[in-house]
């Protein structure tokens, strides 16, 4: 490899286009004869559509069509039921899209959507998750394919016998992904072929899904997602917008642009399930864990089983001889939950890392030292050594940078005027996985190179990272490399999700570049003057043949908060994270990913909450004025650091993925700091002032 682009801080390749507005997003491509689609949500929670009256909408000037179950093109039976839209007169949750109005202007489409008359025969519904819901059941597995329950040793006996025990139940609400760019699509049919410009996290998977739904060969579907304004998991697969746009475009036989509204993102695109988590920990008097149990309850829909892997985090994080984890689900009349940054690990870590803090208090031990004492060299779940595990290094380095030493553990011991001050810590971990991918590398006669892979840059800097990796693999300065991503015509690649994008794509990019260099070595005359040399590879075999080993990234989150003694307002003075995530390809974009995750953790801990009204069966605060997301003023000082980590058991680039670990543990660190500041333990997020108010009575 050359002097090395990997590890150097480059600005995003497309940064100028984005900040000047030149970068095109899904509904910004110029298209001749375009029309506009507006999705119509169901007004009942559960029931049947008995009548659709399209006439008032069709009478509006500009309205071209009202597409609904009675006239929409047929989708393949047996498809994902969330995507089997406009096929049946049945409503499974409030807000489910039951029609699309297409018009020659956005405004007419919107007004038309309001004018469509739909009658329903509504039935009773259940939309609230409770720990004693009669519908609780044990799924066959949890996402993506973990065992539902695990047990080792004898938890009950170990717990009963221990001198120190803690038993607490933690609750998290529904959280709603709100990328800046909503789910949005421009769909065009030409000669039986479908072209979509779509906002998603993986154009290859959307292509495959559309091909299945519309019963087309995959080469008849092209999906372009060159720039994507955020996803956070919510665009991980094809979702409603692209299906509705394609159905609508087929109906009117002209291109259709369809973007969901902000309000429509609250539900139909998926959300992080609410959780109810009971954690029981037992330890010796020296703080060594002897028993761990994590029982998690979450919800799914009647359409599709989505089993959040909430307690999986606990299986590998800390060691103990007696261990048990369980997952239970309830099928409610709600939209299907979906991925949101670190699904499973994020809510699970909130509970476990809060419980560890409570145990530290119970055992009279520093919470950093408690975690160090219970570190594991061998994965408690799989029984094999971790390929690398630098949790302790992160905790130590974080404690040093944060100034943790000499912390007085006494709650409510520090005060600055009206503010109570407290500090908290949490561990963090996220699996380091990779999926098969393909990529192609081309040498041009002018000495330049082109690397093509259908990776997706959802704002992370993935395009730039792949460009850096390619340059090093080719052994040339990056300026000689052109990278193309975000188009299903490019070599197939997996989604930007599960913190697997960089590991999976870079693997294929490296192999493609190596294959190209090999080809060039065998071509003594080099690249023909009027041509080029290309090598395309797939890592299917190599990735599939990789030994199953416990591979994880780790981190430690440190937080200082202040809490207003009279009003209960919580502010984060400073937040510091240290992460061990393998090799960092680009410090600039990596830092953004990590502090972005941490900020989202502040949001989870203090601000976000989907507030459900069971009578209506939906979240009433479905806009950004009432669903609060952390703003800049809430983030006063935030730092992300990482430690050098070499792990030869990962992938050619030696990366672990950094998209998600930044949020894991963040909410627990904040909750722990709030407890340290106030002496009050809030076990139901978000921690808002109404839950803390009245502290002055204790002053």
């Amino acid at each position: 490899m050359s002097a090395g682009a990997v590890g150097r801080a480059y600005p995003r390749l497309e940064g100028r286009e984005k900040v000047t507005g030149a970068a095109r997003y899904a509904v910004e491509y110029p298209v001749d004869d375009v029309s506009y689609g507006w999705a119509v949500p169901a007004a009942v929670v559960r029931g049947r559509i008995t009548r659709v009256d399209a006439a008032p909408a069709l009478a509006l000037p500009g309205v071209l069509a009202v597409v609904h179950h009675g006239n929409a093109a047929r989708l393949a039976p047996g498809s994902d039921r969330e995507l089997w839209l406009l096929q049946e007169p049945v409503v499974h949750y409030r807000g489910q899209f039951v029609a699309v109005v297409v018009a020659t202007s956005l405004e007419a489409a919107r007004e038309g959507a309001r004018l469509v008359g739909i009658d329903y025969d509504a039935g009773p519904h259940s939309t609230v998750l409770t720990s004693d819901h009669p519908g609780l059941y044990r799924p066959d597995h949890v996402n993506p394919s973990y065992p539902t329950d695990t047990a080792e040793g004898d938890f009950d006996a170990g717990y009963a016998a221990a001198p120190v025990r803690m038993d607490a139940t933690y609750r998290t609400p529904a959280y709603h992904n709100n990328p800046m760019e909503p789910h949005a699509t421009t769909a065009q049919w030409r000669d039986g072929r479908l072209l979509v410009h779509d906002s998603n996290q993986g154009a290859s998977s959307v292509q495959a899904t559309l091909a299945d739904l519309f019963e087309l060969p995959s080469e008849s579907v092209r999906v372009i997602a060159e720039h994507v304004g955020g996803g956070f998991g919510s665009k991980g697969y094809a979702k409603a917008a692209v299906v509705l746009a394609a159905l609508a475009a087929r109906q009117v036989d002209r291109p259709v642009r369809l973007a969901l509204t902000r309000q429509q993102l609250f539900g139909p695109i998926g959300y992080r399930t609410p959780t109810i988590q009971r954690v029981r920990l037992a330890a010796d008097t020296d703080g060594r864990l002897t028993a761990i149990c994590h029982d998690a309850i979450s919800q799914t829909s009647t359409l599709h089983e989505f089993a959040e892997q909430t307690a999986v985090y606990t299986r590998s994080m800390y060691a103990a001889p007696h261990r048990r984890t369980t997952h239970r689900l309830v099928r409610l009349d709600v939209p299907t939950p979906f991925w949101m940054r670190a699904p499973g690990e994020c809510p699970g870590a909130y509970a476990l890392e809060s419980a560890m803090d409570e145990l530290a208090t119970a055992v009279g031990m520093d919470p950093v030292e408690l975690r160090v004492r219970n570190d594991a060299e061998v994965d408690p779940d799989q029984g094999q050594p971790f390929t690398s595990r630098n949790l302790v290094a992160c905790l130590r380095e974080g404690a040093r940078r944060f100034g943790w030493a000499d912390r007085d553990p006494t709650p409510r011991a520090r005060r600055d005027g009206r503010w109570l001050i407290g500090t908290g810590v949490a561990g963090s971990s996220y699996p380091a996985r990779a999926r098969p991918s393909s990529a192609a590398a081309t040498a041009r006669a002018d000495g330049g190179f082109l690397v093509r892979i259908n990776a997706t840059d959802i704002g992370t800097g993935a395009r730039t990272a792949m460009w850096q990796v390619a340059a090093d693999a080719l052994g040339v300065p990056p300026e000689r490399v052109e990278i193309r991503i975000g188009d299903s015509d490019l070599p197939v690649a997996p989604v930007a999700g599960g913190s697997m994008g960089t590991s999976s794509w870079s693997w294929a990019v490296v192999r493609a570049c190596e294959a190209l260099r090999e080809k060039l070595r065998n071509a003594p005359d080099g690249v023909p003057a009027d041509g080029e040399v290309t090598a395309e590879v797939s890592t299917e075999e190599e990735v599939g043949g990789q030994p199953m080993l416990p591979r994880y990234a780790y981190g430690a989150q440190f937080v200082e908060v202040r809490v207003d003694v009279d009003t209960g307002e919580v502010r984060v003075n400073r937040m510091l994270g240290v992460f061990a995530a393998g090799r960092v390809v680009n410090p600039t974009t990596a830092r953004s990913q990590l502090i972005g995750g941490m900020t989202m953790g502040i949001s989870m801990a203090l601000h976000e909450e989907g507030v459900l009204d069971e009578r209506y069966g939906d979240w009433v605060n479905h806009d950004l004025a009432t669903y609060h997301i952390t703003g800049c003023a809430d983030v006063e000082r935030i730092e992300a650091h990482w430690i050098d980590e070499q792990d030869a058991e990962l992938n050619p680039a030696g990366v672990k993925g950094i998209g998600e670990i930044g949020i894991v543990g963040a909410a627990a660190a904040i909750a722990n700091a709030v407890h340290h500041a106030t002496g009050v333990r809030i076990r139901e997020l978000p921690i808002r002032l109404d839950k803390l108010l009245g502290l002055s009575a204790l002053a």
Partner: protein, 330 residues
């Protein structure tokens, strides 16, 4: 959204005349609230009469020491006005605590006072709301009502008025200058907004088509010692869950005069006359401030999710007045 026409009147008289002739017309000023509600289908005017170009954008000092603020003066300009900053800090603080910089740049003085409630049920045409659709019921009364009223609500409506500016103006005894078809008249700010009662759809006492042209602040030297405290669920860009506007005039340690108004507790900015009566003429102490707040809140009727607003409002009353008494507004 519903197709609508757009008209830019030449003067105030024409604006008022157009509104009088068009039953479905609405004034457009900054549009920060109205346009959102039009997109949501909550408000459906067929004609927008744009008043932003009318000559109502001046801030003028009055001979009696008061201040006259044109109805289209943007919130950001008003907050930055040197006389406001010097003589009415409560007003500048209230303005700067509201919305975001971008919104304050376009939101106007008059428009701010006439903004609609922020109840989530009002803003969702799929849910019952007597304010949006009289007779349809109040989903909030027994629904999610953490952010809603504790004082003066009715079975028909439990919404709160969202304005920070209006709370400060209530404390300052501001007067609203209004043009109606019959001519100009003054409306005390305290009499501008209505209790919800049986008709929550009527939010103000203004006649249909009335146009606010200015807001007048009386001379109030004591207001140089004034403040606005706002508590919200995040550090910026959120509506109040509790707020207080306070003016305190001390003679030694005795309260010579005091003005108090609360936000986020009622359907209108809530002037706390009872609290003022408790305070006036007595030596100031934080305990007295707490008793005054308790007197004001004695008739509060919290809803299922908003009982916290009572200790919160009490706490910020004590803090605001104590800071003013000590000369250390935060």
């Amino acid at each position: 959204m519903r197709p609508f026409r757009y008209h830019r009147p030449a003067d105030v008289a024409e604006a008022v005349a157009v509104l009088a002739a068009e039953p479905q017309a609405a004034y457009l000023a900054g549009g920060t609230n109205l346009v959102d509600l039009m997109k949501l289908g909550v408000q459906r005017p067929d004609l927008l009469v744009d008043v932003t170009r009318l000559p109502l954008d001046a801030v003028a000092e009055l001979p009696d020491g008061g201040l006259r603020i044109g109805a289209t003066v943007p919130n950001s300009d008003l907050a930055a006005h040197p006389v406001v900053r010097r003589d009415y800090p409560v007003l500048a603080r209230a303005l700067l605590a509201a919305a975001s910089g971008q919104l304050r740049n376009v939101a106007t003085t008059g428009g701010n006072l006439l903004q609609r409630t922020r109840c989530v049920y009002f803003q969702d045409t799929g849910k019952a709301c007597n304010k949006r659709e009289p007779g349809s019921g109040c989903a909030a009364r027994h629904g999610q009502n953490r952010d809603l009223a504790v004082l003066d609500w009715s079975e028909q409506c439990v919404a709160t008025h969202p304005s920070d500016l209006a709370v400060a103006l209530a404390a300052l005894d501001a007067v609203v200058e209004v043009h109606e078809a019959g001519g100009a008249r003054d409306v005390p700010l305290a009499a501008l907004h209505r209790s919800p009662g049986e008709h929550p759809e009527r939010e103000t006492t203004l006649a249909r088509g009335a146009l606010i042209t200015a807001v007048r602040l009386p001379a109030l030297p004591a207001a140089r010692r004034s403040t606005y405290l706002k508590v919200r669920d995040r550090a910026s860009f959120a509506f109040a869950v509790g707020s207080v506007a306070a003016v305190l005039d001390l003679d030694g340690d005795v309260v010579r005069d005091v003005r108090l108004a609360y936000g986020a507790v009622a359907h209108r900015p809530w002037r706390a006359y009872r609290a003022e009566d408790e305070l006036r003429g007595r030596p100031f102490s934080p305990e007295l401030a707490a008793r005054a707040a308790d007197a004001e809140l004695a008739e509060a009727r919290p809803l299922r999710h908003n009982g916290f607003k009572l200790p919160l409002t009490r706490a910020i009353t004590v803090r605001a007045l104590t800071e003013l008494a000590e000369g250390t507004p935060s």
